[in-house]
């Protein structure tokens, strides 16, 4: 049978160049060069396409996602609008992923979690954004008629998402208010995990690694009743210290931020 010839997409030269820089040239030795080349682009024409490419991080190497986060940080100095858009766009991608729960999108969804974590590491999102995202993953669609298609009982993908994000930036939540926020989240996370019943072994091992790395002394609850009791206790405690906490939080947040300054290593020259 006659077949029509395959149509290859022809991209404008500038788009081809952007793709070459991001998907072929970029590695830790060339990042300064790539950043400089990106800054030389006719910015107003290229910004939308560049944003699109930044969202295609799953096309690049997983181990290089931090380089894209680093580029975002490097570009923000001159194009803050772009850096803000990158963050908004990643969060939107994560949200849409939860809304569709499309099996074919899993790889990119994991890449976006990694990217969000790296953006935190490069100080482009606050811890509050990370925690809001974590809780969103636990509860999105629950209590609605779509729950069974958005988060079926046997589907462990959301656990993967949480593991990926916390593997990437969880180690920074080790003091002050963000430490408490992570402690609290991990109890809620445990309730979510227990609601899934028996886990596939690969997920269980990744969870063990995660807890060992972040909170080696934390109790792993073995039943819903236990974890519910722990959450009730937590909420009562929070209630009593809430006023006191509000004051301390402001202080320790400022202290926490300054520790993450590995970022601007490649800041603009």
């Amino acid at each position: 049978p006659e077949r029509s010839p395959r149509v290859t997409k022809v991209r404008p030269p500038l788009h081809q160049y952007i793709r070459k820089l991001l998907f072929a040239d970029l590695d830790k030795t060339t990042i300064e060069h790539v950043l400089r080349q990106l800054r030389k682009l006719p910015w107003s024409d290229c910004e939308p396409y560049l944003l699109k490419c930044f969202m295609k991080i799953h096309r690049g190497k997983y181990g290089q996602i931090h380089l894209i986060a680093s580029l975002t940080a490097g570009l923000s100095r001159y194009h803050d609008e772009f850096a803000v858009a990158v963050v908004d766009e990643v969060l939107e991608e994560i949200r849409v992923g939860l809304e569709l729960n499309d099996y074919g999108m899993q790889q990119r969804r994991i890449a976006h979690m990694r990217f969000l974590g790296e953006l935190y590491n490069y100080e482009h999102v606050d811890s509050s954004v990370i925690f809001e995202t974590l809780y969103l993953i636990l509860v999105f669609g629950h209590g609605t008629p779509e729950q069974d298609s958005l988060d079926p009982p046997e589907d462990c993908f959301r656990i993967r998402m949480v593991i990926t994000l916390l593997e990437t930036c969880g180690h920074y939540f080790d003091r002050g208010s963000s430490k408490r926020k992570l402690d609290r989240f991990l109890v809620h996370f445990q309730r979510y995990i227990l609601s899934k019943g028996a886990l596939p072994l690969d997920i269980e091992f990744d969870l063990q690694d995660l807890f060992a790395e972040l909170r080696s002394n934390m109790t792993r609850y073995s039943s819903i009743e236990e974890v519910n009791a722990a959450i009730t206790e937590l909420e009562e405690y929070e209630h009593t210290v809430s006023t006191e906490k509000a004051i301390n939080e402001k202080l320790s947040d400022t202290e926490n931020r300054s520790r993450r300054t590995i970022s601007c290593a490649i800041s603009a020259k």
Partner: protein
Amino acid sequence: MKDSPDRTKVVLRHLPPAISQAMLMDQIDSVFAGRYHWVTFRPGKSSLKYQSHSRAYIDFKKPEDVIEFAEFFDGHLFVNEKGTQYRTTVEYAPSQRVPKQWSKKDGR
């Protein structure tokens, strides 16, 4: 969330894929002109395979205006030429960052 009284940046989601920025801004400005200091529009896309909605991010000058804006636009129905309906939602943007006002010119 507990600090929502201070939040000023919202996202309009589930706008029709083909809506233009000008069309949307006409509607917003009919009531909210001059009450925000930053807005950005993300066009959606309609293809056979995949459809994505348009979005807009708006940073209001006053937190109270967010409430009024949500009353106005949350659940607002947009209908396109073909009669398809899009029910828009208004939410606080998960990241409250907006671009710094002073944008340095890149000397490159």
